[in-house]
């Protein structure tokens, strides 16, 4: 558990295994109830939008689960009987991340073609460098900066979820980063198609642009689809190629943060690094590799991806329950400013690249 959230830490339980496990049930039931409420809210809004033919921003269940958890813990508080179960959220997070590996096929990277792949690499490098510089300039906490950099370079919410565990970021930082990425995603849903039409971009060029510059997969797909079916296909392909790099980028950040905590000059650095290294990242890479090698059928991949969503549903209700609103308010609007400036520049850079290379696309 992160130090900032110590306010409701569960006391150490010295009872035997079975009563201890039973003691977790009320809290897990609370996580499930709040998370499920988040899922229902997302679906109800989407249904309303469809029925009334309006494009409403897709606010994912993870953010609703955080909001509902936040409301409970910062108003009525979490009664003692629930606390042990609520603190299992980290287990659900890591299990969900390992299962999420099934959605990231390493082979997807190759389907995109040479020029577009080079753009994905450039986008990753520019986003990470830019967000890190902006975060330092506006003096964000280093871990929040890392989360925003990962979120903007790869794939919004999933990447932030994966990175939160890997670099042991605070719940407040993860909540903020997810909210910022989703707010910007909602904005891009309206802005990108308008700009694409104004510039008369081809389906391929627009799809590639959206796939490179919009961070959340749902919003990237939707923005592509608002332009044309063909654009949606290119958007999904470019976005999937970015998504497939998640393991490597999170791995890089995990190693960076594990190394950073080694300040006193420990003798056996490799052993120390291995000790600090988040082992579930290896589980993620293993499942991703198995899926790439064709170990699972398409329906099985969908089932495992759904299972990871259920795990995240429990996780983020827990993150909300552990998030202290006073800590969140201390961050102010600076993280949102970093996200907005960063996204704006990334959208500009990728658009310039695509316009310059449009004859080869």
């Amino acid at each position: 558990m992160s130090p900032m959230t110590g306010a409701m830490a569960a006391p150490r339980d010295s009872r035997p295994a079975i009563p201890r496990l039973l003691g977790l049930l009320p809290g897990i039931a609370l996580l499930a109830a709040l998370g499920f409420l988040g899922k229902l809210t997302e679906q109800s809004i989407a249904r309303y939008g469809k029925a009334h033919h309006t494009a409403l921003p897709n606010i994912e269940y993870v953010l609703w689960a955080i909001i509902f958890g936040l409301l409970v813990s910062n108003t009525i508080g979490v009664p003692a009987i629930f606390r042990a179960g609520v603190s299992t959220y980290e287990f659900w997070l890591k299990t969900g991340i390992v299962l999420l590996g099934v959605r990231f096929l390493l082979g997807d990277i190759l389907k995109l073609g040479g020029v577009s792949l080079a753009f994905v690499a450039i986008e990753l490098a520019v986003s990470i460098a830019l967000m890190t510089a902006l975060g330092r300039w506006l003096r964000l906490s280093p871990k929040l900066t890392s989360l925003l950099a990962i979120g903007s370079s790869i794939c919004g919410v999933s990447a932030i979820i994966a990175a939160k565990g890997a670099i042991e970021a605070d719940d407040e930082d993860a909540s903020y980063a997810i909210a910022a990425i989703l707010a910007l995603g909602a904005f891009s849903l309206f802005a990108f198609p308008a700009i694409g039409h104004a510039l008369g971009l081809s389906d391929h060029a627009f799809g590639l642009w959206v796939g490179l510059a919009v961070d959340n997969t749902a919003e990237a797909t939707a923005a592509g689809a608002l332009y044309s079916d063909a654009a949606a296909k290119f958007a999904v392909l470019a976005k999937t190629a970015r998504n497939a790099t998640i393991g490597f980028v999170v791995l890089g950040y995990a190693i960076y943060w594990a190394r950073k905590s080694n300040r006193q000059g420990i003798e056996n650095k490799a052993a120390f690094l291995w000790q600090k290294f988040p082992k579930f990242v290896l589980g993620f890479l293993l499942i991703s590799l198995l899926a790439t090698l064709g170990a699972f059928s398409k329906p099985q991949i969908a089932d495992l991806a759904n299972l990871s969503r259920w795990a995240f549903l429990l996780t983020f209700a827990g993150v909300g329950l552990q998030t202290n609103i006073r800590e969140l308010r201390k961050q102010g609007l600076r993280p949102l400013a970093v996200g907005a400036i960063g996204e704006f520049v990334i959208a500009g850079v990728t658009l310039a690249l695509i316009l310059a290379a449009s004859r080869w696309l």
């Binding site: 287990f91 890591k94 299962l99 290896l282 589980g283 499942i287 099985q300 299972l307």
Partner: protein, 34 residues
């Protein structure tokens, strides 16, 4: 101590996820809806 707890949690989550993947792979777990 905290590191040890985290380590155990990491491995448990990998074991749980791999077990779930195996159950789905060999059709022991039924279809999981969302």
């Amino acid at each position: 101590m905290a590191d040890q707890r985290k380590l155990t949690l990491d491995w448990w989550s990998v074991i749980a996820a791999l077990a779930a993947a195996a159950l789905v792979r060999f059709n022991i777990l039924p279809h999981i809806p969302w």
